[in-house]
C-alpha cells in the first residue's frame, strides 16, 4: 500500500489515543466542537475532511475552516468533479450544510450523483430526528442498510461514534440514498436561474460572480455561520462547492481570449470569497478549467488568491494512457500550494510525485513508484524479449534486431519524460 494511506492510519490512531489521555492541548478548549472536524496538530486550526482521506493527508490533515481549495480540472472534468462530489458527500454524512453553485449542470443533479458512504464501521444518525421525514412511512427507514454487526448496538452510542468521526469512505459505484441526502440542508445556486441585471457600478466583477457572492453572503448571514454570531446555538460548518468557475457559462471570457476583457473578474471574486470565508465557519472547493486559461501569470494570481491548490492531469485522451509506465494510474496529481495558516512554515508533503487512481469503488491518491525502479524493470523485460526474438530471427533479418534496439531507446526516452 502506498505511504499516504498507511500514514493516515497512523495519525488516526494517534488521534484516538489523544482523546483518551487526560493531556489536552491548550488551544483545544477554545475550539468549537463540531461533528466532522478536528483541530490541526501543527497550528490548532479547525480542519474538515475533503472526503478523500489520502488527499486530506497531502493537505496537512484536511482543509482548514475558512479556506478555499482550488482544483484545476482535468481534461474532461471527470476526476475534479468526483473530488467535488466527495467533498459534498462528506458534508452530508457529517451533517454540515452545503452550498452548491454551478452554471453547467443544475446543482441538484450534482447532489444526486453523490457517492454512497460505506457505513460498515460507523452508524449513521438515523433520519428519524428530522421532523421533515417523520411523516414518511416507517418501512422506508427500516430499509436503510446498516451493517449487520452494528444493527443491535444501542442508538446513543452510534450517534456519538458518528459525530467524532473525521473522514469517511465512499463507494463511487453507488449513489447516496436519498434519505441520507435529504437530511442535509442544502442551498443551491444555479446561475441560469439568476437573471443578470444591467451593471451600474464600475466594479471589475461580473454580474454572475457578484450575484453568487451576494447569495453566499445571504446564506452565511441567515444561517448564522459568521464567527462573530452569538455562540448560544450549536455551530455547524458550511461547505461551499463552486463548479467550473471561469468557464464561459459563467459569462466569463478568461478561457476564450488571450487578453480577456474581464481579466480581473475571477480574481476579484476569489478575493471576496476569501474575505467571506475567513469571517465565517465555512470552507470552499472551487474547480477551474485551468487548461483553457492560456495566460500563466493570470493563473498564478488565481492560485495565489486561493489557499490550497491542486491540479489534476488525467491520462484520458493523452498518449500516456497507453504508456505502460502509467498503466496503474488514471492521472497525475500536483500539489501546487498549501497555505501557511497561523504559522510560519507550512507542512508540505514529502513527495511530489503523486498519481491518482479510480478503483472500482474508490478514488485514491498514491505515491507514484519511482521512475528509476520502473525503468530498470522495463529495460530488463525489453532486453529479455529482444534476446528471445533476436535469437529467433538472427539468421534472416539483421535489421530487425536493430529495430528492437531503437524501440528500447524510444521507450527509454518515453520513460525519462
Amino acid at each position: 500500500m502506498a505511504a499516504p494511506v498507511s500514514n493516515v492510519g497512523i495519525s488516526s490512531g494517534e488521534r484516538s489515543a489523544f482523546r483518551c489521555t487526560s493531556f489536552q492541548k491548550k488551544t483545544r478548549s477554545r475550539l468549537i466542537a463540531i461533528p466532522g472536524t478536528r483541530p490541526s496538530v501543527q497550528n490548532g486550526q479547525l480542519l474538515v475532511s475533503t472526503g478523500v482521506t489520502s488527499l486530506d493527508y497531502l493537505l496537512g490533515g484536511g482543509l482548514a475552516v475558512g479556506t478555499v481549495l482550488l482544483i484545476e480540472e482535468d481534461l474532461y472534468d471527470s476526476y475534479s468533479r468526483m473530488i467535488l462530489k466527495y467533498f459534498l458527500a462528506e458534508g452530508v454524512v457529517c451533517r454540515h450544510e452545503l452550498f452548491v453553485a454551478a452554471a453547467q449542470d443544475n446543482p441538484n443533479d450534482i447532489l444526486q450523483e453523490l457517492p454512497a458512504p460505506i457505513l460498515d464501521d460507523v452508524a449513521f444518525p438515523k433520519p428519524v430526528e428530522q421532523p421533515r421525514l417523520s411523516c414518511e412511512p416507517q418501512d422506508s427507514l427500516d430499509a436503510m442498510k446498516i451493517a449487520w454487526r452494528y444493527q443491535n448496538l444501542p442508538k446513543v452510542q452510534s450517534a456519538l461514534a458518528s459525530s467524532s468521526r473525521f473522514g469517511h469512505y465512499y463507494d463511487v459505484s453507488k449513489t447516496m440514498e436519498p434519505e441520507i441526502r435529504q437530511a442535509a440542508k442544502c442551498h443551491c445556486f444555479y446561475f441560469p436561474d439568476h437573471p443578470t441585471q444591467s451593471s451600474t457600478t464600475h466594479s471589475p466583477m461580473l454580474q454572475s460572480y457578484s450575484a453568487l457572492l451576494k447569495s453566499l453572503q445571504e446564506v452565511i448571514h441567515r444561517e448564522g455561520f459568521f464567527i462573530a454570531a452569538p455562540m448560544s446555538k450549536s455551530r455547524n460548518i458550511l461547505r461551499v462547492g463552486l463548479h467550473s468557475l471561469g468557464s464561459v457559462l459563467w459569462g466569463d471570457d478568461l478561457s476564450c481570449h488571450d487578453s480577456p476583457r474581464h481579466r480581473h473578474a475571477l480574481t476579484t471574486f476569489l478575493y471576496g470569497l476569501r474575505a467571506l470565508l475567513r469571517s465565517s465557519l465555512s470552507v470552499a472547493v472551487v474547480t477551474i478549467p485551468s487548461r483553457l486559461i492560456q495566460d500563466s501569470s493570470l493563473m498564478g494570481s488565481i492560485t495565489q488568491l486561493c489557499d490550497y491548490a491542486i491540479a489534476l492531469e488525467s491520462f484520458k485522451g493523452s498518449e500516456r494512457e497507453t504508456n505502460p509506465l502509467y498503466k496503474d494510474y488514471h492521472g497525475l496529481l500536483h500539489v501546487h500550494q498549501v497555505p501557511h495558516l497561523n504559522c510560519l512554515a507550512s507542512q508540505l508533503p514529502d513527495h511530489k510525485d503523486l498519481a491518482f487512481k479510480l478503483k472500482r469503488k474508490q478514488f485514491t491518491i498514491e505515491l507514484r513508484r519511482q521512475r528509476f525502479f520502473m525503468l530498470t524493470h522495463k529495460m530488463r523485460d525489453l532486453i529479455k524479449c529482444n534476446e528471445q526474438s533476436a535469437s529467433k530471427v538472427r539468421s534472416d533479418h539483421p535489421c530487425q534486431s536493430s529495430l528492437k534496439v531503437s524501440k528500447i531507446l524510444t521507450c527509454f526516452w518515453d520513460i525519462m519524460g
Binding site: 487578453s259 480574481t267 478575493y271 495566460d295 501569470s297 497561523n342 510560519l344
Partner: protein, 276 residues
C-alpha cells in the same frame, strides 16, 4: 524577527538605516515569512507601523507574531500599529449594499480605474496624524514611521493598473522615506520573464522592475530551480543599491533559507545541514 537576517542586513531594532525602501519580490514561492520578520522587527524597534494587510486576516498575523514574541493586539491598542485589514473592509465594497460603506481606504474596489488615491490618503493620515486623539495624555513617543504593504500585486488582481500601483508606491516613498525619514517595506509577486507575454505590457514583471528602481534594498525570493526540497525552502538574493557620489552601484549576495516554526535560517548555497 530573525536574528540571522538582521546580521545579513546589518540592522538591529536599536539601530537601522532610516529612509529605506525595502522591496521583497517573490517568484513561485512564498515570502510571507519576510513580512512577518519586518513586522516584528519594526514593532520591537518602537516604530509607528502602518500595515496594509491585503491578503491575510488580522488573526493570522496576530497568531504568527505571537510566536515571534510580539503582541499585535496590544500594539494596536497602544496606537503603535495601524492595521488595515483588507479582507474585512473589502466585503462591503464588493457586495453592493444599501449605502453602508466600509473604510474609505478600499474605495478603489468600486472603481479600480480611479487609482489608489484613497488608499494613499489613509496611509498619509495614519502616519502623519499624531496620536490617537483621546489617548494624548498617555501618548508614548514612537520612533520613525514605517509603512508595510503585504502584497502590492493583489491590487493588480483586483483590477488596479500597474501604473497606478507604481504611482502609489512612489507617493508613499516620497512621504514616508523622504519627508518623514521612515522606512517602507513592500512585497510584490512576479511571474518569470519567459511566462510574461509581450502583449501584456503592464504585467507583474513590469511592476517589479519599476519598483526595483525605487527601492534601496531588494530581497528576491525564489524557489529552488531543481524543485521542492524539504530542507531548503528556497533562495533569497539580497541586493543593495547604494547611491554614492560616483554614481550608484549594486552589491549582491545569495542565500538559501529554511523556514522553521519560530524563525528562519539563512546559509550560503550548498551549505545546508542536510547536505553537509
Amino acid at each position: 524577527m530573525f536574528t540571522e537576517l538582521n546580521s545579513i542586513l546589518n540592522a538591529s531594532p536599536d539601530s537601522f538605516t532610516q529612509g529605506e525602501f525595502i522591496l521583497v519580490s517573490v517568484q513561485h514561492s512564498d515570502a510571507s515569512f519576510l513580512i512577518h520578520h519586518f513586522l516584528s522587527f519594526y514593532l520591537r524597534a518602537r516604530s509607528r507601523v502602518c500595515f496594509l494587510a491585503l491578503v491575510q486576516s488580522f488573526s493570522h498575523y496576530s497568531a504568527v507574531s505571537q510566536r515571534l514574541g510580539v503582541n499585535l493586539t496590544q500594539a494596536k491598542d497602544k496606537g503603535q500599529l495601524i492595521f488595515l485589514e483588507g479582507l474585512k473592509e473589502s466585503l462591503s465594497h464588493l457586495i453592493p449594499q444599501e449605502e453602508r460603506t466600509g473604510s474609505e481606504a478600499m474605495d478603489f474596489l468600486r472603481d479600480p480605474a480611479g487609482g489608489l488615491r484613497s488608499l494613499y490618503q489613509f496611509v498619509h493620515s495614519s502616519l502623519t496624524h499624531s496620536g490617537g486623539g483621546e489617548m494624548v495624555e498617555e501618548e508614548e513617543a514612537w520612533g520613525s514611521p514605517v509603512l508595510l504593504v503585504d502584497d502590492l500585486s493583489v491590487l493588480m488582481s483586483l483590477g488596479v493598473s500597474a501604473g497606478a500601483v507604481l504611482d502609489f508606491s512612489h507617493y508613499c516613498r516620497a512621504m514616508v522615506c523622504s519627508q518623514l525619514q521612515g522606512n517602507m517595506v513592500a512585497l510584490v509577486r512576479c511571474s518569470s520573464e519567459e511566462e510574461e507575454d509581450e502583449g501584456d505590457a503592464e504585467g507583474s514583471e513590469w511592476l517589479r522592475r519599476g519598483l526595483t528602481h525605487q527601492c534601496s534594498l531588494t530581497l528576491h525570493v525564489q524557489g529552488l530551480s531543481t524543485g521542492y526540497c524539504r530542507d531548503i525552502h528556497g533562495q533569497v538574493e539580497v541586493c543593495w543599491r547604494k547611491k554614492q557620489t560616483s554614481g550608484s552601484h549594486t552589491q549582491k549576495k545569495l542565500f538559501q533559507y529554511k523556514v522553521h516554526d519560530k524563525g528562519a535560517s539563512f546559509f550560503a548555497p550548498g551549505t545546508s545541514s542536510a547536505v553537509l
